[in-house]
């Protein structure tokens, strides 16, 4: 991978954030898709915008990419703004859009050669093919590629200009688990090469796996911002215990929620459709206490699950909804 370009422009100063958003707003008709967003992304960061469909992630990223005009607010990329330096910015950022279909009848190499020709400088086409691991498909028509290969081609098209800042909009949506992991490895490589990456996703495990920092979006707002660890810690515990008691319906009303929440090691309690969720610090001490408390109340478990707290739990804790039930 070629090194980050040296340029005489003061905007290339390492101190300038890669992305700076202030008071960003965009409405479509009556719907406020983006409703007042402030954000800083430093150089070399891999930053994730996480949220359910319709949260405003794509609108936000498309405003950053200069494809959508915001109603209000400031957008600065690499110290430039779209109004005065659109041409310069287009040369220096790489973009992967949701659901671009490249012409079926072009080959992988022809497609990349086309995109390479748009950039004044960049990496050789061969290198982009290698990076995206499409060597075997170099002469294959785009129409014959699998979903994962098409996504990697889209990624390669975003890379041929050797961008300082890379935008990936839902790079793994619709891919099978294996293709997804393959793409994650590719993003890892790009991170190691020191590129700044901004990606959107509605898969929490993707954000946790790839991103140094994450902003969780809902209804056009950023409702949480930090490293995945910080956000998960904000839930209050590292583990989540979920249980239901036998004799559903009226019986769950008999569970004394205050008593459970007061147990040592239990940070919070919530109940959703008969399923109780407790966030706890240590499983091995908290679970026996929970069993005892339930036994005291004369209740029998019908279901018990535990998992490590994830960004999903952060989202649930903040909104009361799960990421995927939109």
């Amino acid at each position: 991978m070629t090194a980050t370009p040296s340029t005489t422009s003061p905007a290339a100063d390492r101190q300038t954030p890669s992305l700076l958003l202030r008071g960003l707003r965009k409405a479509f008709g009556d719907v406020a898709a983006v409703d007042g967003i402030d954000l800083d992304v430093a150089r070399g960061e891999c930053f994730g915008l996480l949220g359910p469909n319709g949260a405003g992630k794509t609108t936000t990223i498309e405003i950053c990419e200069g494809l959508t005009e915001p109603d209000a607010g400031t957008v600065e990329l690499l110290g430039f703004n779209w109004r005065s330096h659109a041409g310069e910015l287009r040369q220096r950022i790489g973009i992967q859009l949701q659901e671009t279909q490249f012409p079926d009848k072009l080959t992988v190499e022809e497609t990349l050669r086309l995109f390479r020709s748009f950039y004044r400088r960049g990496i050789p086409v061969e290198e982009s093919i290698r990076t995206a691991q499409l060597e075997e498909k170099r002469n294959a028509r785009v129409g014959g590629l699998s979903g994962g290969q098409k996504q990697r081609l889209a990624m390669a098209c975003a890379l041929v200009g050797d961008p300082e800042l890379l935008f990936l909009d839902e790079p793994t949506t619709g891919l099978d688990p294996q293709a997804r992991r393959h793409l994650w490895d590719l993003v890892d490589q790009l991170k190691q090469a020191g590129r700044t990456i901004i990606l959107t996703t509605h898969y929490m495990e993707e954000a946790e796996r790839l991103c140094g920092r994450v902003a969780i979006m809902d209804h056009g707002h950023i409702i949480a911002l930090g490293t995945p660890q910080q956000l998960i810690a904000s839930v209050g515990g590292e583990h989540i215990v979920e249980f239901a008691v036998a004799g559903a319906g009226s019986s769950h009303a008999r569970v004394d929620a205050a008593l459970l929440a007061a147990l040592p090691g239990v940070q919070s309690h919530r109940v959703d459709a008969g399923l109780h969720q407790l966030s706890v610090g240590e499983l091995h001490t908290a679970v026996p206490r929970i069993f005892d408390a339930l036994a005291h109340q004369g209740l029998h478990l019908s279901e018990l699950r535990t998992h490590s707290a994830s960004l999903e739990d952060v989202f649930v804790g903040l909104t009361g909804r799960t990421l995927r039930d939109e």
Binding site: L67, Q98, T100, F102, P103, K105, F115, R116, S117
Partner: protein
């Protein structure tokens, strides 16, 4: 990599060629179909030699007299058989020898039968020794350039230039928009004018092949005349193609789906197929609609192509038509650039 390889205009134009050449249907409609159409029409409207008319006579002498005229084919039959042959259309006229002279039996509402009557009478009178009182001479005219195929070839050429330009541009653009490729391209540093220019460049190259194949065929097989300057004919083809490319751009500048684009495309082209005089002269339409018909780009294109090929007119003699085409080109291009939806 060579300089050309790294030029985005070259790459965009190559993409257009590749996509076109890898689409067998497009090749058929652009190159083969117009030739097939010309063949079909050429066969259907071929000029036949002057018909020989079938007649009958009741005596061998009379038959001999009639057969002496090249316009008639005569056979001898009795009156009953002759009447039957008349009724079934096997002969057009029956000449019956009577004591006083000759009697003709024929249907005077049938133009061919009336012709047969005239020729037969001439033959009978000549056999009887009648001399023409005025000396006449026939000059036969079978001029190329006045046949239907000569008329229809410039019409088909105009129609084909319209179709390939409009579909070629319109469909590709709307497809790219629908598949979000257009959006991806404008998200790259690609100069937008080059995207549109690549269509025009590839169109011009294709035009050479398309026009040369079609007109070459028309020349070799039908002997269609080229009375005007070939350079000006080429210029007319380029102007026509550009005008319809601009119109295709206009039609596709907003449409988001292929269905919407197809509808708009047909809505634009159908009136011109009918009104612009591809298959018959546009002057057959009533005088009220003539100003509208004349203002259509296809009418102007076809009239100018016919003017060049059939009448040998030069461009300065056809300023009105060239002006109409240029106006369509400029206005459609300007409007579509203004309203074009890049995403």
């Amino acid at each position: 990599m060579s300089r050309l390889e790294t030029s985005s205009l070259f790459q965009l134009t190559s993409m257009r060629f590749r996509l076109f050449l890898r689409e067998p249907e497009a090749i058929f409609w652009t190159f083969i179909f117009p030739i097939l159409l010309a063949v079909g029409l050429g066969i259907a409207f071929r000029n036949r030699p002057a018909d020989v008319l079938q007649v009958g006579a009741t005596t061998p002498q009379l038959t001999q007299a009639l057969a002496r005229d090249k316009g008639l084919s005569a056979s001898t039959m009795d009156q009953a058989a002759g009447t039957h042959a008349l009724a079934t259309g096997a002969i057009l006229l029956l000449a019956i020898e009577t004591p006083t002279g000759v009697s003709y039996q024929f249907d005077d509402t049938n133009p061919d039968a009336r012709n047969a009557r005239l020729i037969a009478d001439r033959a009978v009178q000549a056999a009887a020794g009648q001399q023409p009182s005025v000396l006449v001479e026939n000059q036969l005219v079978h001029e190329t350039g006045a046949r239907y195929i000569d008329f229809v070839v410039p019409g088909l050429l105009g129609m084909n230039l319209m179709g390939s330009a409009m579909w070629g541009l319109g469909f590709s653009i709307v497809e790219a928009r629908q598949k979000k490729l257009l959006k991806r391209l404008v998200a790259s540093p690609m100069p937008r004018w080059q995207y549109l220019a690549s269509f025009l460049l590839s169109r011009l190259v294709m035009l050479v092949i398309e026009v040369a194949a079609f007109l070459g065929f028309a020349r070799l097989v039908f002997g269609v005349p080229f009375r005007g300057s070939l350079a000006q004919l080429a210029l007319l083809c380029v102007l026509t193609s550009l005008a319809f490319s601009a119109l295709g751009l206009l039609v596709s500048s907003r449409a988001k789906t292929m269905e919407a684009a197809s509808g708009l495309m047909n809505l634009t082209m159908l009136p011109m197929w009918i009104l612009s005089g591809v298959f018959f002269s546009a002057s057959r339409f009533p005088a009220v609609v003539q100003p509208f018909v004349r203002a259509l780009p296809l009418t102007a294109a076809i009239d100018a192509l016919r003017g060049n090929m059939l009448q040998g007119l030069s461009l300065p003699q056809m300023t009105a038509k060239v002006g109409i085409l240029s106006a369509w080109l400029v206005v459609a291009f300007a409007v579509s650039l203004r309203i074009f939806r890049w995403r």
